[in-house]
Amino acid sequence: MKLLITLSLRNLFRQKRRNILLGIAIALGVTILVLANSFSQGISDIMFNKIMRWVTGQVTVRFNEKGRMNREIFRDKERVMALIKNTPGVLEADEGAGMFCRAIGNGKSDNIIIVGVNTSLEITEETKKELEDSFRLIEGGWKDLENPAINNPVIVSEEKARFLNVKKGDVIRVRFRNMFGQDQAARLTVSGIMKNDNIFMQPVVFLELRNAKLIFGYKPYETASLTLKVKDAVKNSAAIADSIHAKLKPGVAVIHALTARGDKSSVADVLGYRSDEESKKKLSALLKIKSGSVEAALKKDGVVIFNTLAGALKVKAGDEIKIGFARKFEETPAEKYLKVSAVAADNPELKGNVILVNDEKFYDIYYENLPKPAPEAFIPDKDGSWAGLVSPEWILLERTANTEEAKKKYIALGKKKWKGTTIDVSTMYETASDIMKLEGVLKLITLSAVMVLFFIILLGVVNTLRMTIRERTREIGTIRAIGMQKNDVRHIFILETFFLTLFASIAGIAAAYISMWLLSQITFKMSDNPMGMLLVNGHLYFLPTFTGIAGNVALIILIAVVTAYFPSRRAANLSPAKALGHFE
């Protein structure tokens, strides 16, 4: 084999001019392929790691109360945070809070997005560098956001500051509708100005998370969403999201309360019942109404109590009862009034004193006054008739694999009219799988174009080999006559093509790197152009990867070798006698 390699290399250098020209053509093709692939890989990296990473996190846990898209709130942040933080592979977990606002600067108004940023969160040096690269401060510093002497200090993009006609120290007034739809107004003080080439990130205004939550109307124990940074996101994010999803299976929502009417009181467990049509049918069959009606019991504000409790409190349908219970996060207990819609016969599966409330009304009470966990509270048997009929703590949405499925899920969410809080766990690769598709399409277009180019180049390879074989026919005859086998002759020619393609590819890769470096030195001023999002700090961004380049080179060598195989076989099959007698 060593001899064959030596011979093929020697032959390669025998026809330098011809092979150099052919090599240049192959190198050019490789350069274009590597450049284009690195560019599309760069676009993906910008979209995921420089935009989506900051907007949604690599893995996101979203909460929507009453299934409403605008109502992003979960009332027990620490409970979910505790589950998430212990998940292997999670590097950082933080709250996400953002709101679209109308901003008024000095005589100018525009739309902005206030984003809460947790400056006290311990972040890795890598994250810090990513943050500083993505949002380059030209005035002020991140720590200014924590300054208690300034009223709502914010960092604004250079372009937005220019548009609103504000500078450091100026006040921006904002109005917005918060997650409940309430109008809110606030005054923000510009404490820093940042530069960002991505037009979609220019409306972003950073405000310290605590201040943001305060003006949005969140309590400290509530959150809008949770965003996670995970180890090796491309590889692990889906598995981590699956693991978090599995941990978020809801229990039954129950309020362990004191009920009272007049001077009568009793301890009871208030459960919500599902109000979808199927559940209502099952409830109609299960409830044996003694006072009131099934219709009234299943109405929006339906409240059903059972015979024993009704007897203890001396209530009938139409009467009002009070419930009081300890709250998890507030010191004062909650008190609510419920108008009894129906009294039903005791049910053997519902132990103790149970009050059933339509989930629409139940969740209003439950979420607004999250009850203190009570281990003694009654929960229906999970295998019994009531298990699927009582309201869960939240509704865990199914995991989805891509943007298409996620869209369908959210359309269905709009139609389903969930009364409870929905929880959705997703990765940025799933919610923005279209970006990956775009990258794939770009790569395919590039590959197709380069393949056309290579087809032309390969015609040159075939032609060169034919010429070489013709020129070396007598030489083939000689080496065959002195004992070289057919296979070895074939291998010499194939190896020649292999080495030619390999050297040309190496040169092509080097040329691609030089081209990438040169192209990335050019500064583009595109801050007002959407195409600016394809730039990093005003420069083109390429992300060559070892696997991508190795794959491309392997493909090109394979094609070249396959193309060279047939002329090589013809050369090997020449009869030594005929070859020796060949004369031109």
Binding site: R68, M69, N70, R102, I104, S109, R173, R175, R177, N178, F180, G181, Q182, D183, Q184, A185, A186, I215, G217, L258, A260, S265, V267, K322, G324, F325, A326, T332, P333, E335, D364, E368, I411, G414, K415, K417
Partner: protein, 256 residues
Amino acid sequence: MCLNKLITAALINILFASALFAESRIAPILNSIDEIYKIKTDARADVMLTQQKPEQGTKVIKMIYYRRDSDDSFLIVMSEPENEKGNGYLRVGDNFWMYRKNTRTFQHINRDENIGGSDARSDDFETRKLSELYGPALGPDGKEIFSQEMLGQVPVNRFEVKALVNDVDYPKKIYWARRDNNLILKEESYSLSGTLMQTAYFLKYSIIDGRYLAVKHLYIDEFEKGNKTVVDISNVSTAKLENSIFTKAYLENLSK
């Protein structure tokens, strides 16, 4: 032990609240407003919104509004501006659809959605009781914020209310209501942070089936100065409406 404390605290609070409610001067006014405003029939009306914004000029939005009393369903069909003409909104029970004439499609939307490019939202057309949404606000002295004054030449009760539920536009409002019949003449709406966001004047009332209906309102945006909206309601009818009106097919046909 903990439960006993809870019972005691709850009962004390409930008793206190009951006593407070009994002495309230605002609560009866809120109940009265609910009573005199509540239309207990089906209704149809032409609604015209004239929006003035300094940067955008004047925009007129016209729509026809149908309301069914039995289940609070409503249908809105846009007739102006031209680009909105034929579009509509239908709400039946928990379902709320937006119809787009150009694409002939219905889309599920939520009640936070703006109607026909105006600042009005679906929940502005819902009939929810004021007394269920708002309760008397208390001053630092623990007393209701209530006074009697003159609004121009009209003697009024001025009182402050705060939201009892989350899903209202404004967490705090101040009303000026006529002393003789509790009709609201002026309303100030405040944001969660206490900033005055909007002042509304109810300029003209009509009596429809023994109930008061404000047929001309003026809304002044106090946050973005210069923005104001005038609402005119006309051709009000309280005749019984066919059930077929509150269907997708009707909206589709009406938009043809």
